[in-house]
């Protein structure tokens, strides 16, 4: 009994000493989805992050950067829990977080309770995060889901001649934002979106979804990601599906294109749009691909970086360049650092990125088509590059505000 209480006291003093360590370095917390449906996305995000550290180094002035990684599972609660752990236990001063759409909304809201810290979005792409009531200390150097779809609707309508499409997407904010971008453009051209199906994140059995796909449409748009996308493709192929496909930004991505098995072959020829294209000839992109490939052995990475790797690379780059601009000065509640970040323009692998007044990225978008490289590996090939895509997608802000926030039924299929 006595032993037990002595042990307890020893334990609590141990906890205390661990928590009270002095801070010499700049501590940065990183979250990624290392669990659940989006595990592969999170892992590749971390690879992108490490590639950026290899290229840019971990030193700012005379200060060393220390990174602490925490895991989430794409649910907002897991993201808030991870971020709180990083701030309160690991005492990080800057956060590179999070990966997924709804996590972004929750972390943005959480950021308001810590106005003294700086949050740099790692990869999440829900529109609401920076468009509705943005947090002054939350910076996003990647475009949102709607921006990543710019050009797709127009290309499908004009070049491919699609007139009627149906969509299948995961039932959460990022995919709403993606479908928002697609519908706005496609219906604006005169196309029709006849049916929008929503499946919960983490769906394993797509039988009823596949059975309900309409066959009087020109193409079916897939807004799925990670394990959900692979499951869908397997079951779609087994069901004998032959429709033309269009894909969202995490559907037509190396996380899916380099999955095992041949279900992915259903994707050859699929039209998609994203913040990157695997075969873009820009030297900056080619260098990034090479850095990524050199950093990891071939069996521990994708043949080419995924969108998540690119986003984590970009956000890590912004973090380091922002810190260098102020020489690691985080005094005065990091105000100098925040000002520097807001003004920063980065030469990211996927084109130049600058921020708008909501601290949301304005960047370059790519319309792509999936090709087989002849050796069985699939890549997304550029068919169109669209520079300077802003969050209101080129609409007048007042008109854009009237469309409403992305949801299952917004926007309506009409010309705004």
């Amino acid at each position: 009994m006595l032993k037990g209480s002595v042990g307890l006291i020893a334990l609590s003093s141990l906890l205390l000493s661990g928590a009270a360590m002095a801070q010499e370095k700049i501590k940065v917390g990183v979250t990624a989805t290392l669990e659940g449906t989006y595990t592969v996305l999170g892992e590749d995000g971390i690879r992108g992050h490490q590639t950026a550290l290899n290229v840019l180094g971990k030193k700012v002035g005379d200060k060393e950067l220390e990174f602490i990684i925490a895991s989430t599972d794409a649910t907002p609660d897991s993201a808030v829990r991870a971020v709180r752990k990083l701030i309160e236990q690991d005492k990080v001063q800057i956060l590179l977080s999070p990966l997924s759409g709804d996590e972004g909304i929750a972390v943005k809201n959480f950021a308001k309770t810590h106005p003294e810290l700086t949050f740099i979005n790692a990869a999440s792409g829900a529109q609401e995060t920076t468009y509705v009531d943005p947090a002054p200390n939350f910076f996003r150097y990647n475009m949102d889901g709607a921006q990543w779809q710019v050009g797709l609707g127009k290309y499908a309508y004009e070049t491919k001649g699609y007139r009627k499409i149906a969509t299948v997407g995961e039932d959460y904010s990022f995919i709403y934002t993606q479908v928002f971008g697609l519908v706005l453009e496609f219906c604006g051209m005169g196309g029709q979106v006849t049916n929008r199906q929503w499946v919960p994140l983490g769906t394993k059995d797509f039988a009823s979804v596949i059975a309900a796909l309409p066959d009087d449409v020109d193409a079916i748009y897939l807004g799925l990601g990670g394990a959900d996308a692979v499951n869908f493709l397997n079951q779609y192929q087994q069901a004998g599906g032959k429709a033309h496909l269009m894909g969202g930004s995490i559907m037509i991505d190396q996380t899916i294109l380099s999955s095992k098995g041949n279900a992915k072959n259903a994707l050859i020829g699929t039209l998609a749009a994203s913040g990157q294209a695997d075969t873009w000839e820009d030297p900056g992109w080619q260098k990034f691909v090479k850095d990524y490939q050199d950093a990891f052995p071939p069996n521990k990475r994708f043949p080419s970086p995924s969108l998540l790797a690119t986003n984590y690379y970009g956000s890590t780059m912004a973090l380091i360049l922002g810190l260098r601009a102020v020489n690691g000065d985080l005094s005065d509640n990091q105000s100098k650092f925040k000002t520097a970040l807001a003004k920063l323009e980065i030469d990211a692998p996927n084109g130049k990125i600058k921020l708008d007044s909501n601290r949301q990225a304005i960047g370059t978008n790519f319309v792509t088509e999936v090709v087989d490289d002849g050796k069985g590996a699939l890549f997304s090939k550029v068919v169109k590059v669209i520079p300077n895509v802003n969050q209101t997608l080129g609409y007048d802000p007042a008109v854009f505000a009237k469309i409403g926030l992305p949801s299952r039924t917004v926007p309506e299929c009409k010309k705004y």
Binding site: L8, L15, A19, T75, D77, E88, Q89, T113, S407, R408
Partner: protein
């Protein structure tokens, strides 16, 4: 209400005989219990914000939810997997009736109206679920309650009108009165500690009150209890009502803790986590769930860091958590409490085994 009343009335006949021997509180003469109580009380002096809230307050909240399961499973023989769902329901109700960022959903009531409303609705929800479940036994109870939990999870995930779908409800308002922000670390810790202590002692008390004794009788031999004139189902439903209230209290604390609630918090996995917590801690005594919760929270928080620190692949941290639980359950079918008791018995082999020894033996039968 009438159900609870019924239960009390029917118990009264049987109490006179059993009561005298079980009137003392266990642990009142146990210095270890006092030391733990004092450490918990002065915790804000020992631990900083992270350990205070993320570890200890979270432990107490999860432990209280698991306590409601322990009450049902340990005293009532009913393994309910919907305890977290009830807590989550209460949390959602606080967000819906109180204030949050989602102005189109939240009604903006002050906390002192929203919380009783949430508690009442969640207790009603749990009682109804219990009324469904009591018609079954054993594995069928587990299945019905799991089905309720799963249905609630998918409902919240896809309902946007009340539950705001996968996004959930953000920036839920927390109470501020008497000039104190009750969500600040130290006041919040004491609220959590107070509620957890209240629930703990309530369960301790009920376990030796006539109602609790009758419930244990129902657990051990429902047919005989029915023959003695007890309304078996009414007792079980009343037990669900009480356990739901305990879980609902913890749910309110949970939403105040994270200021946010979303379907991930009420997922099927999280429901099963509560079962794991209760089993690992031990469901023979009310303190078990809290011990289980502490182990669970420590593993969940530090497994990744620990693996990275010893140079292994951090991605496999779930494996470490699973192995930890497996080890505990393998060596002790009645959880950490069972280990502790066996260790104490071995440490003092000559002393005659007292009441606690008997309890453990009796408990392991259904552990």
């Amino acid at each position: 209400m009438s159900v609870t009343h019924d239960a009390r009335v029917s118990v009264r006949t049987a109490t006179g005989v059993q009561r005298p021997g079980l009137r003392a509180w266990p642990g009142i003469d146990n210095p270890a219990a006092w030391i733990v109580a004092i450490i918990l009380l002065i915790m804000p002096l020992i631990a900083n914000g992270f350990f205070l809230i993320e570890i200890f307050a979270t432990t107490l909240i999860l432990g209280t939810i698991a306590l409601s399961l322990m009450f049902l499973a340990g005293y009532g023989g009913m393994v309910s997997l919907m305890q977290l769902t009830i807590a989550g329901f209460a949390a959602y109700m606080v967000a819906v009736f109180g204030t949050s960022d989602n102005a189109n959903i939240s009604l903006g009531w002050p906390w002192w109206l929203a919380v009783p409303m949430a508690l009442a609705l969640a207790t009603a929800f749990g009682t109804l679920g219990g009324a469904l479940a009591v018609r079954t036994e054993g594995i069928y109870t587990i299945m019905i309650t799991l089905a309720i939990g799963a249905a609630f999870y998918y409902f919240t995930n896809q309902n946007w009108a009340i539950f705001n779908g996968h996004t959930g409800i953000n920036n839920v308002g927390t109470p501020r009165f008497w000039g104190i922000n009750w969500r600040a670390d130290i006041p919040f810790y004491y609220i959590v500690l107070g509620v957890a202590a209240l629930c703990y002692f309530a369960v301790e008390y009920i376990s030796r009150a006539p109602f609790g004794l009758a419930l244990q009788g129902v657990r051990d031999n429902p047919r005989r209890m029915a023959a003695l004139g007890f309304n078996v189902n009414a007792h079980r439903v009343a037990a669900y009502a009480f356990a739901s209230f305990v879980a609902a209290l913890a749910g309110v604390l949970q939403v105040w803790n994270y200021r946010q609630i979303s379907p991930g918090s009420v997922s099927v996995g999280a429901c099963i986590d509560i079962l794991i917590i209760a089993i690992v801690g031990g469901i023979t005594r009310p303190v078990g769930p809290y011990i289980g919760a502490l182990i669970f929270v420590l593993l969940r928080t530090f497994a990744l860091d620990f693996l990275v620190k010893i140079g292994l692949d951090g991605n496999r941290f779930r494996l470490l958590i699973g192995l930890g639980f497996l080890a505990i359950v393998f060596w002790s079918s009645d959880g950490v409490i069972g280990l502790w008791q066996r260790w104490r018995q071995r440490a003092t082999p000559t002393r005659p085994i007292g009441r606690s020894g008997q309890r453990s033996g009796q408990g392991s039968g259904h552990g």
